[in-house]
């Protein structure tokens, strides 16, 4: 079984990645999952400065999902480069660094420090979290507008070494995700990461107030899966050559296969790690089994299969003349 997958100039040994913000620094997960055997480890979104994030409660449980409003906590790019990236590199993990920012300038500065760091060679790819709020546009997220998202892509693309793939991670909270995807493609993104969380709210039954200090939060987990699959399907239809990392509620190898046939060449596992930190290995094995059960020997052959007419076509509206049915009694 050939599970390898390509994103721009980079080839990953398998398509199962950990989603940004869900694998900690890697140290915590490493007790349960061999990081070297992941397709890649996507880091928490790295911001310019250290950030404590929002006060608790910043995570709430919802049916088949969780809501989070963490506030992008993290040590900042310098500490990340000094402490976390070298450790990940030592584990032989392929590292995708997620970058965040509240202004275009912040995105640029983070990307520049990554590119200029002595650790830069340990970075397999960069993921751009455009779901960050834009401080220069009253906190509206960059991902809500094609032009704002594209600007971020241009800035990061310009700062990062040209061989390093740039993945842009889009938000589903838009009227038409394909338009945003097209704008990011024009701006030079190597691939897309679909999708970030979806805006939601939970109420605390005791206080009858929003459960999260952030009031609204991002919904993730299996609840979100149908929406994520739709986004991947829709964007793959619009941009068939664009590498897509699909994710949102991946919990099993069958889920991963669904993302692949919808158009993803890799998948990310996020919320499932909170529930089952050993999941990546299991998902990789199950994906391999599911592909084999369909007689597929190369992952690449399965990418986008749901868009192609196959032998086993689902029922369609019959448009030809009908076989006449006689009334027998």
């Amino acid at each position: 079984m050939d599970l390898s997958t390509r994103i721009g100039a980079v080839t990953l040994a398998n398509p199962v990645l950990t989603a940004s913000g869900c694998g900690g620094t890697g140290r915590e997960l490493a007790q349960f999952t061999d990081l070297a055997r992941l397709g890649a480890f996507i880091t928490c979104s790295v911001m310019l400065q250290p950030r404590a994030g929002r006060p608790t409660p910043r995570l709430a449980e919802t049916p088949s999902g969780v809501l989070n409003a963490m506030g992008l906590p993290g040590p900042g790019v310098d500490a990340f480069l000094a402490r976390d990236l070298p450790w990940l590199a030592e584990q032989d993990a392929r590292v995708v660094v997620s970058v965040g920012g509240n202004t275009l300038g912040e995105f640029w500065e983070v990307a520049r420090r990554l590119a200029e760091s002595p650790q830069a060679s340990a970075i397999a790819a960069v993921e751009v979290n455009v779901a960050c709020p834009n401080a220069e546009d009253r906190g509206r997220m960059f991902a809500a507008s094609p032009s704002a998202a594209a600007e971020v892509v241009r800035v990061v693309r310009g700062a990062i070494h040209r061989d390093t793939p740039v993945l842009t991670k889009l938000s589903p909270d838009v009227t038409d995700i394909a338009t945003i995807a097209l704008a990011c493609a024009d701006a030079g993104t190597t691939g897309l990461s679909l999708i970030n969380t979806m805006s939601g709210l939970a109420i605390d039954q005791n206080t009858l107030r929003p459960a999260l200090t952030g009031v609204s939060g991002g919904l993730s987990g299996p609840a979100l899966r149908p929406v994520a699959l739709r986004c991947v399907y829709q964007v793959h239809a619009a941009l068939p050559e664009m590498p897509i990392v699909g994710g949102g509620g991946v919990a099993t190898g069958r889920d991963a296969l669904e993302f692949v046939v919808a158009g993803a060449c890799a998948v990310s596992v996020g919320t499932t790690l909170l529930h089952d930190p050993t999941a990546p290995q299991r998902i990789t094995r199950e994906l391999e089994e599911a592909l084999a059960a369909h007689g597929i020997t190369r992952l690449a052959d399965a990418v986008g299969l749901a868009h192609r007419a196959t032998a086993a076509l689902p029922p369609q509206i019959v448009l030809g003349p009908q076989e006449p049915i006689k009334e027998l009694r």
Binding site: G24, R27, A52, G53, R58, V66, H275, D276, P277
Partner: protein, 284 residues
């Protein structure tokens, strides 16, 4: 799963889990998946371990309160059901190097996490004293065991339905004095832990607290990845950091927790709005 039984106002569940039992150190906890295979409840529930035994290759018992849907699901398990459990997790209680007089303070079923500690302390020739409290008699957990094991055991209920009438902080200074306590260990509701920590600090006695209720209310993964369970803690360097109750805790030095700032990001915490913007090295 072996058994689940009702104990006072709580449920006690025993699991056959040799790998957990073997590595367990007092103060550590379990992260339990709830709702079964097709569950819609994704956050793990975290419970301090009550007791490990060597039966069946190694069993682990923990005590919990029904209330949220996940706990109610747990309470309705039956023998032979299997459970998805991670553990033992978190920082255990540090034990005194030399024999000492130890005061173990437990609120509600938080006391369940203190009995394995008591055993370990007694194996080190420490004196073990208990103070257990709860609003009402049936909410006190382990009063009889405490009386059996402890050199002394003080029970406090708000309504006087068992032991002394009042709250734990009311009686604590007196008990600390009477037991000549060298160290205080506390577990239970967060508000109680704050009081115990400040009484101990005022008397200059080291105090280790296990933030079980905080973990129950905020933890989702139990292993340190989700950053949901953070609280402000003062590090050795005097700087406040948001640390994870599940990983840097659940046992923390009482006077290091910024009790009145729980549920906030103190302005001067690392990464807070008015904190030094340069990264500091990690310190617990």
């Amino acid at each position: 799963m072996l058994t689940v039984r009702q104990v006072a106002a709580y449920h006690a569940m025993t699991l056959v889990a040799p790998a957990v039992a073997e590595r367990f150190r007092p103060g550590q906890f379990l992260a339990v998946a709830v709702g079964g295979e097709h569950t819609s409840l994704l956050a793990r529930r975290c419970f301090p371990v009550y007791e490990v035994k060597s039966d069946y290759g190694g069993t682990v018992e923990f005590v919990f309160e029904a209330g949220d849907p996940g706990a109610e699901w747990l309470a309705s398990r039956r023998s032979r059901d299997s459970l998805d459990v991670l553990g033992p997790l978190g920082r255990p209680f540090p034990l005194p190097r030399d024999p000492a007089s130890c005061l173990l303070v437990g609120g509600a079923h938080g006391s369940s996490g203190l009995f394995s500690l008591a055993d370990a302390l007694r194996r080190r020739d420490c004196q073990v004293h208990f103070v257990l409290g709860a609003p009402r008699a049936h909410e006190v957990f382990g009063a009889r065991s405490a009386q059996r094991i402890g050199e002394s055991a003080t029970v406090v209920t708000r309504d006087g339905s068992l032991g002394v009438t009042g709250t734990i902080p009311d009686v604590l200074p007196r008990v600390i004095e009477e037991t000549s306590a060298d160290v205080v260990y506390a577990a239970g509701p967060t508000a109680l832990l704050g009081s115990v920590a400040s009484v101990s600090a005022a008397l200059g006695i080291p105090c280790q607290v296990s933030v079980g209720e905080w973990l129950a209310d905020t933890a989702a993964c139990g292993i340190g990845t989700c950053l949901s369970c953070v609280l402000p803690l003062i590090g050795d360097d005097g700087h406040t950091r948001m640390v994870r109750a599940c990983t840097e805790g659940p046992v923390l030095r009482g006077e290091r927790v910024r009790w009145s700032d729980l549920g906030t990001i103190p302005l001067d915490a690392l990464g807070g709005p008015r904190a030094p913007q340069a990264p500091l090295e990690a310190a617990p």
